[in-house]
Symmetry: C2
């Protein structure tokens, strides 16, 4: 079986408009099959995650995993958190949702607030948005001078390289939807009072800039898909595929760590004897 | 159906030794029934939690829930996190595991580090250990002068009252096991190399003080089970009951908030028209 990560990884120039968002690469079957597989994948995730977590607690690993989610509004970052991150033990999970930076954060380098949220050894971190916002909305809305934006691509690659050198694994997922997918999903939110809270009139202001955002994503995918931290383009027009794909890639990532249970750092037999007397 | 929280709530003096840890109050059925019910309870939790989360995001509530877990080693705080906290959307969950305080933390009032981890509106917080350690190990190991320990019970009650007055709901769960339960569980950890990482020789040093810890818990349960934040004694000798009971009480807590979906703070029809043109 081919690794799904290599199937979805991108390198070189990319044309998002030519990529169908309802594609289901490497998946055999139908929606129901994917939904049935998810709990099974979840069981495996729990097991491999526990190995990671155990080694983190025991202080026997520097490994940690960071899932990074980016995508246009309604692309399903929240749904991924609920359905995929929800499969693992919450003890070993650290989710960070990055909003517009605060004044304190803006006074620092753009990576300052990111670095503080990197997962510790043994943990799975999830970034709901990330430092990439600084070259996405940052570029589209011209929130920083052009040469500063330009500087950031390399700064990001260096930053991610340091994380990987330090035992981290990055799973960068771009949730790819079409402008039409977004239109349908925004319309659903406006049609359903239980979804009003997910809607913000500002979403339409961003939508008006759709082509510029797609271009900014294309630059990111080309310049920041590196050997140490490739970008994966996850077709997210079908929610079930998106969930299946990200869960599968997380499973591959955890399995590849190849961790074993930490050895006892105490005398097992002596402890057994001591316990027996108590 | 009686509220499980009132069934398990404690008030007045309590004798833990006389309480069987394998009791299953208010549960009809067998282990399998409880395990089958858990995913159903999980579905309900997801729904009521989403209401809470939605209101938090919309800024329309000050409500938040804090589950506080205390218990002797092996009583199942980690298992509860995995199996109960794992039922809800991790986006709306904030878990804090309190370890021995750092030097910085020790320089402050004992509630300082706790206050910083209280959940925001819309969130479910879980404390794996808590400020109660400061009147448990703090008392047993005499980590502070007797009059300071004495002061803390009232300080805790005041602190919790402020949290409740501020829209918080506290679900304080003491995971009750017997000395024999603990012996069996520690022995299991020593017999199983996949569990060595959960074992620490220091656990036996604490076990040697079992009667003093039970007494310290009895004082806590008597003095800090208040009307605004009662303690619940959860028999935790059977893991399936512990999970069922805490999930059930969390469900009761969330349902009782009686939240509704936040109203739109924008003109729905105007937005529909705007979207249609884009």
């Amino acid at each position: 079986m081919t690794d799904l990560r290599s199937t979805l990884a991108t390198s070189g120039p990319i044309d998002l408009a030519s990529r169908p968002s309802d594609d289901t690469p490497a998946f055999e079957g139908k929606k129901k099959d994917a939904q049935l597989q998810l709990p099974q994948i979840g069981e495996q995730l729990m097991q491999t995650q526990e190995l990671l977590f155990a080694n983190g607690r025991a202080g026997t690993t520097d490994r940690k995993v960071l899932i990074l989610l980016q995508g246009m509004d309604t692309s399903g970052k929240g749904g991924t958190l609920r359905h995929v991150a929800g499969l693992v033990d919450p003890q070993g999970l650290k989710i960070t949702a990055f909003k517009a930076p605060t004044e304190e954060e803006r006074a620092q380098d753009f990576l300052w607030r990111i670095e503080r949220q990197l997962p510790e050894p043994g943990m799975i971190g999830v970034f709901d948005r990330s430092h990439y916002e600084d070259v996405l909305i940052g570029r589209v809305r011209e929130l920083a001078p052009a040469d500063e934006i330009e500087r950031r691509y390399d700064a990001i690659n260096d930053f991610e390289k340091r994380f990987v050198d330090d035992g981290g694994v990055l799973l960068k997922c771009f949730l790819h939807i079409s402008a039409n997918d977004q239109k349908e999903r925004l319309a659903e939110r406006l049609d359903d009072p239980t979804k009003y809270w997910k809607y913000n009139p500002g979403d339409l202001d961003e939508r008006a800039l759709w082509p510029r955002y797609q271009e900014a994503y294309e630059v990111v995918l080309e310049r920041c898909s590196t050997e140490h931290a490739p970008w994966h383009v996850v077709p997210a027009g079908r929610k079930w595929y998106r969930n299946w794909a990200i869960a599968t890639m997380l499973g591959e990532t955890l399995a590849e760590l190849g961790l074993d249970w930490p050895a006892a750092d105490f005398d097992v037999e002596a402890e057994k004897k001591r316990l027996a007397t108590m």
